[in-house]
Structure formats: C-alpha cells, structure tokens
Amino acid sequence: MSLVNLAHVCSHLNNATKARLGFTSIPNSNLHLKLCLALQNDGFISSVVRGGPEAPPMHNLLGIPTGHGEGYYVEPVTQINVASRRLWLGLKYWQSQPVLSKISMVSKPTRRLTIDVAGLREVVRGQKSGYIEGLRSPGESLYLSTDKGIKEARECVEKKLGGLVLCRVL
C-alpha cells in the first residue's frame, strides 16, 4: 500500500478538477481502484474504468468512458498487460463547480494515522480526535482503509470499524 502514489493521485485529482477536465486517468492499483469505487459510490466521480494507456471508448452521449455500451470491449487484465493498466475516471461538475472540490491526504507516507471507533465517532460528530480534525463542513467525507475494505468514516462508525485514515474529501 503505497501512500506516495495515493498522494500523487490526490494532487492529480485536485489539478484535474481545477482545470475542469471531463475525465482523467490515474495509475492502476488495488488501493486506487477501491478508493475510486468508494468515491463513485458516494457520488464524487461519475465512472471508474480500468483501461490501457489510451482512453477507452467514450460513451456516445456522456462523453466520458463508462465501461459499457454498444460494441464496447473490455481487455482482460493479464500478467502481461497489468503494468500498463490505468484507471479512467469521469469527473463531475455541478453548476460550474467541481463536485469533488478538494481531496487531501490525512496519513502521510512517513506518518500513518490510524483511528478506532471511539475516535471516529468524535470525528464524525465534528470534533477533533488525536491528530484527525472533525468533519465540520457540510458534505465532508473521510475515507479509511479497514479490514472490510475502503469505507467512508460514517459507514465505519455504523459497522464499528477502525483503520488507517487515507484521505479527506470535500
């Protein structure tokens, strides 16, 4: 689990949304994929497609790679091509503002921060716990890497899971 690469992904997503790009790509890894799926599940990004170095075919109407549609072919991931795979993300905008306006790392490659359920309860209520600031802005989310996969902080509280705090999304 390389947090260096994850930090690069966060910076890249910030830059892409500031430049108002319709879609972008990030290096493929299981951590990135799981995080992107969690972001998609929470509505921050519109699509996640695992493709090659070239952008996969676009959806006719949406103009972003959706990973399905007429004549769409998914190249299976093999040992030969896995190194060249990338994740293609569709970015979302609402009233000229990016839906994912800011994503920043909480754990750093040199300082990983973990949190238990008790601490997470405080954070979700908007209070600081340890080194982790509370979720005080409307719609602010915190993603954790837990035993059960990458989950949002509120879901972790619901399922009584603690874990490694990855990033904060606004």
Partner: protein, 414 residues
C-alpha cells in the same frame, strides 16, 4: 424594591392591565419561584428521602384509589365518559404490580430532576407569557342592566353645568362589551384583516389618532418623508425598491474610518475612507466603501453602497452558518465556525457587527495572520458568502439528504 417580589419585565406586561383571565406567572429574572401575596408559599419538599429509597420502599398501599373529594374535583375537569375511562384505567392496573414494577428511568430521554408538572418552574420550564393577541374570548355584550348602571354612574358623576357635549362624549365612549378593552376597540380577526392603516378612518386620514393606537408615523408622514429625500437617497430608493422608511429601518454600522492621502504634483490631497456594513437583521448583508474629501459624503456613499450591495447570506436555522468557512483577503486569513443554539457571537468586534446586521446569532471566529480591520471585514464577507448549501451538495452527488434536526420532534423546531 422587595427581593421577595422580583422586578417585572416591561415587555411582558403591555396588555396586562385590562386582562381579567387567570393570572399568568410573569417572566422571572431570578430562579426562585414567584411569591404572590394572595397565594400561600409552596411547602418545601421533604428532605431525607431520595428517589432511590422511595422506589425501593414502594408498597401496594401507596397506590390508593381516588377519594370522594378527588373524584369531585376531577368531575369539574372531565366529562363523565372521560372520568369512566380514567377509573377503568386505574382499575386495570394492580397496585401490587405498580409497586413491584416501579423503576427509575435510565433511558436517554429521562428527566434530570423530579417534578410533578403541576407548576411552572421558572428556571427549567419555558416562560409562560401573557397572550400577544387582543382577543378576549370571555368578552360578553353588556346587558340592558349594565347600560342602566353605566347611565346611573354618568348621571351621578355629571358636573353641575352639564352640556350636550358631555352627553355626546358619554354616548360615544361608553363601552359595549365587558372584557378586555382592546378586544372591543381593536379586535383581531384573520377573516377580516386590518383595512385601515393606523390613524386612518373610513373618511380618510384623521389628524387625531384614536387613543388606543400608539403610532407615531402615519402613511401620510411617510409619503412626506419620501418627498424630502436627498438626490442620492432617491437614486438608492429607485435602485433598490425600498422606501425611505424601509431604508431607515436597515441596520447599518460604520466599521472602518481612516484618512487616506493622494500625493500629487501639487501636494498631498487628504480624503476620508469609510467602510460600512448594512443588513436587515434577517439574512441580508452588504458592505460598502466610500471615499471623499468631505467626511459626511464618504459616510453617505459607504452606507448607500452597502445597502445597494446587500445579498442574502445562507443561514442554518436562521441562527448560524453551514459548517466552517474560510476567507482570505490580503494577509488576513480567517475562519468562521458554526456553533450550537445559544452559543452567541464569540468573535471579534468587526465580525460581531457583521453577524448582528445579517441576523446570525451563533458563531465563533478566528482571525489568523494579519488583523487589518478593512481586510478582516472583506474576508469575513467573502467567507459568509462562500458557504455551500447542503441541498446543492446532495443534488450534485445524487444523494438524498435529510436534516435530522428537522426530523426529530415531528419536524417541529421549538
């Protein structure tokens, strides 16, 4: 002033004089219970028995059926059907079960104090205020006998040299109903709203407003004021659509005033710089800057620009902001933080005045790095305007959003 009888709130007792209904406890400025002269003091609660001991020593004999006296008292308040239901309910529960199953509540909604709910505790319960409306539901029309009494009183009190005008005054001013005076003179009705402005009659505006109305400004006066408005004010009224009186009722506050200098070939030219905030105290806020060599000019410029710049500020529950927001102008970086009800405005004076004007009552703020007053005001305005609406966020993400504060207590706010 006697300390046994607390000072009374003026605002609560406006319509008290004529009220003849049951007495309502007034708002207290102290936590001890009100002592009324005509009411014996409440007996102090017996000490030495805790709730725990009470619950442990509970016996079936403690739950006695209603006595005859109690039943007679209940009869005054309940219909026979309701009384039968109460008795059936009492009979259905065995006193033995009551004694055995009596428990001290431990759930989160338990009360933190003992109370029988029969009296209003000033420190704990909501204040019971005198009714605001003029309506008196117990008012009745005077009978013929009452009129005869009134007439007799008039005759007995008549001055020696009585004129026709005395009789006319009596005939006009004698009241037709028994009850609150306001109920007759200024009745309130949602079906028939006020047709006339205060001081107006069916024959047109009257110079002499009725005794009951206490209004300083009539529409005529307002129109007159509008005519006397200055050129700048007229432009402002045209641009904003507000009348002069509405503009006068806005909350404006000059926050920054300084002298600035322009160095020219001919020398230094001094002028006055003024920064003003304006708001209606209910969600509108604007800031305006004025600069002129004449200080009063700069003042008027700033105030009018602030009024023209007024924009709605998003407010959560009309009291605080949505989440934490930041603003940055120049070297001033500040953070405004939302706070729970009753927190107050715990922030520096400039932000305090802005919140007052905008109608925000709960907020905390931190101003970091520089604290230049002008830039602080601008940064605070920027921060207030940069709030994100949760509804918009939910729509952007395609999620459903529910404010649980509105869901609890059946969606009632207070």
């Amino acid at each position: 002033m006697s300390f046994g009888r607390p000072p009374r709130c003026l605002f609560c007792s406006f319509s008290r004089a004529a009220a003849n209904g049951p007495r309502v406890p007034r708002r207290q400025f102290q936590l001890s219970a009100a002592q009324f002269a005509d009411k014996p003091n409440k007996k102090p609660v017996e000490k030495g028995v805790t709730l725990k001991q009470l619950s442990e020593n509970m016996k079936p004999e403690d739950f006695k059926p209603y006595t005859k006296k109690e039943k007679a008292y209940l009869k005054k308040h309940y219909t026979p059907e309701q009384l039968a239901a109460i008795e059936a309910g009492e009979a259905a529960i065995d006193p033995k079960d009551m004694a055995e199953q009596f428990r001290i509540r431990k759930d989160p909604m338990k009360l933190m104090y003992l109370d029988d709910f029969s009296v209003v505790e000033p420190g704990i319960d909501k204040h019971v205020r005198a009714p605001e409306s003029n309506s008196d539901y117990n008012a009745t029309l005077k009978t013929e006998e009452d009129f005869i009494d009134d007439f007799a009183k008039f005759i007995s009190e008549m001055p020696e040299k009585a004129t026709v005008s005395d009789w006319v005054r009596f005939a006009e001013q004698n009241r037709m109903t028994i009850g609150k005076e306001e109920n007759e003179l200024n009745p309130n009705s949602s079906l028939v709203p006020d047709l006339f402005q205060p001081g107006e009659t069916i024959d047109g505006p009257s110079d002499k407003p009725h005794n009951y109305y206490d209004v300083s400004r009539t529409p005529n006066q307002v129109a007159k004021e509008d005519k006397e408005a200055s050129e700048a004010l007229k432009v402002l009224m045209k641009n904003t659509g507000y009348s002069a009186s509405e503009i006068a009722s806005l909350k404006t506050k000059t926050l920054v005033r300084k002298s600035v200098v322009n160095q020219t070939r001919l020398g230094k030219i001094r002028s006055e710089y003024v920064l003003t905030v304006a708001g209606n105290g209910n969600g509108l806020l604007g800031i305006g800057e004025g600069k002129s060599q004449e200080p009063p000019d700069a003042n008027i410029q700033a105030v009018y620009r602030a009024i023209r710049n007024m924009k709605p500020v998003p407010r959560y529950e009309n009291r605080t902001i949505f989440g934490d927001v930041t603003g940055k102008v120049g070297a001033v970086e500040l953070k405004l933080m939302s706070r729970p009800p009753g927190f107050g405005l715990r922030c520096q004076s400039l932000i305090y005045e802005m919140c007052r004007a905008a109608g925000i009552s709960d907020i905390a703020a931190r101003v970091e790095r520089a604290r230049n007053p002008m830039n602080t005001v601008k940064a605070a305005y920027q921060a207030l305007m940069s709030q994100r609406d949760p509804e918009e966020i939910a729509r952007a993400r395609g999620k459903k959003l529910v404010d649980v504060r509105k869901v609890y207590y059946s969606g009632r706010r207070n």
